[in-house]
Symmetry: C2
Subunit: 205 residues, 2 copies
DNA sequence: ACGTTAAGTAGCCAGTTGGATACTTTAGTA
DNA sequence: TACTAAAGTATCCAACTGGCTACTTAACGT
């Protein structure tokens, strides 16, 4: 359940996953990957690939599970790091950025895949973000200013912010030196959106 | 300048571009394209490709230019369709969706490429969106409620909305039957964000 | 010390690829 | 009508691919 991803995997498997992620970032898509090239990048014979994966698609499934595990792990850690009652939302974007940069290739590939062709990788990534969104909504809803807001409207706002954060996160992974600027951008979006939700909600009440 | 894109191109060139876009949508990335397969899909001998393009990358550049031309053309049309003084913003998302569905493959590939690896295609697409953003900001700024808003803050809000719209547009291209839902989502994001900008702006004034 | 199994390797295969060179067809136009 | 240039084709090539079978090495419990 809660174990760190790919921790118990054999060396070769991890090397292959890392090589695949790295190459997929360069190529722009995991679908452009070439089996032999991945093995070469990992410093292994191309046949070793078959010791760990059935084919490329099965490898992508593993990568997607890794991504999902990282996200779950990150959320759990963030939750444990703040006092109960205090909202996570203030720190969540920074946490996301931290997670992302620690597994930069996997995150880049996974987030890009959000709008790729339908497939197991995309489904898993989308589900992770959907879970995260519902988590954040419930978290925010407990704030006094937001308790009166209709859950559906709040969820829509959170979805908007997650789309925005995903975008900025990909920018961050490409230009880590822009971290502060991107965080500020995300924070401003957060403030504007929440102010908007509150304004619209109290107006309609 | 203002001419419709690929209008004067020879038949084969258009066939190849259409085939490439179609396959790139299926594959998830133009970088996964295979020259011979593109030609096959277009019903042409693979050598004919070289009559029109130097290589795959030069073809992608052409595709990017097509995308940019479509966007410019769409904006010009939208501008002409509303009375002067009336803001475009109310209809702009619907217009974007219309444009996108008319050139579904090119738009899908181009918008996906926004977070692909750096390259000419991506640069052109980003520039198109940046131009569109500045256009929209200037347009919105003329509204009475928004005249007092700091341009930089308004631009940030527009950027947020464009990121959101891009996302929803890709969803729309994959599920055209969801058009109305997605348009409503975009409209709600628009209202929330603008309400937020106004609230924050008047608060700090 | 030995046997079992997982991890890794070597070499082969038929099929496909990007690209070159040389040829044919089409369409315009002088 | 004959000439030309653009568009399209046929064929060949070395290089690479995914996947197969068969072999070697490393690790580990007994």
């Amino acid at each position: 359940m809660g174990r760190a991803p790919v921790a118990l995997s054999p060396e070769g498997k991890r090397l292959l996953l890392a090589a695949a992620a790295k190459l997929a970032v360069l190529r722009g898509s995991p679908h452009a990957l070439v089996l032999r090239e991945v093995a070469r990048e990992a410093g292994l014979n191309h046949n070793t690939f078959y010791r760990h994966f059935d084919d490329m698609e099965s490898m992508m499934r593993v990568m997607a599970e890794d991504f999902a595990a990282h996200v779950r792990h990150g959320v759990r850690e963030a939750r444990a790091s703040v006092k109960p009652g205090v909202p996570l939302s203030g720190i969540v974007v920074g946490r996301v950025f931290d997670m992302a940069i620690q597994h930069a290739d996997i995150f880049t590939v996974s987030l890009r895949e959000l709008h790729g062709p339908a497939g197991p990788l995309r489904d898993v990534v989308r589900q992770s973000l959907a879970d995260l969104a519902e988590d954040m909504r419930a978290d925010l809803q407990q704030l006094p200013e937001l308790q009166a807001v209709e859950p559906r409207m709040l969820r829509a706002a959170v979805d908007l912010l997650i789309r925005n954060t995903t975008w900025l996160c990909l920018d961050y992974l490409e230009q880590p030196e822009q971290r502060q600027v991107l965080l500020d951008t995300a924070r401003e979006a957060f403030h504007s959106t929440m102010a908007g939700v509150i304004a619209r909600s109290s107006r309609s009440a």
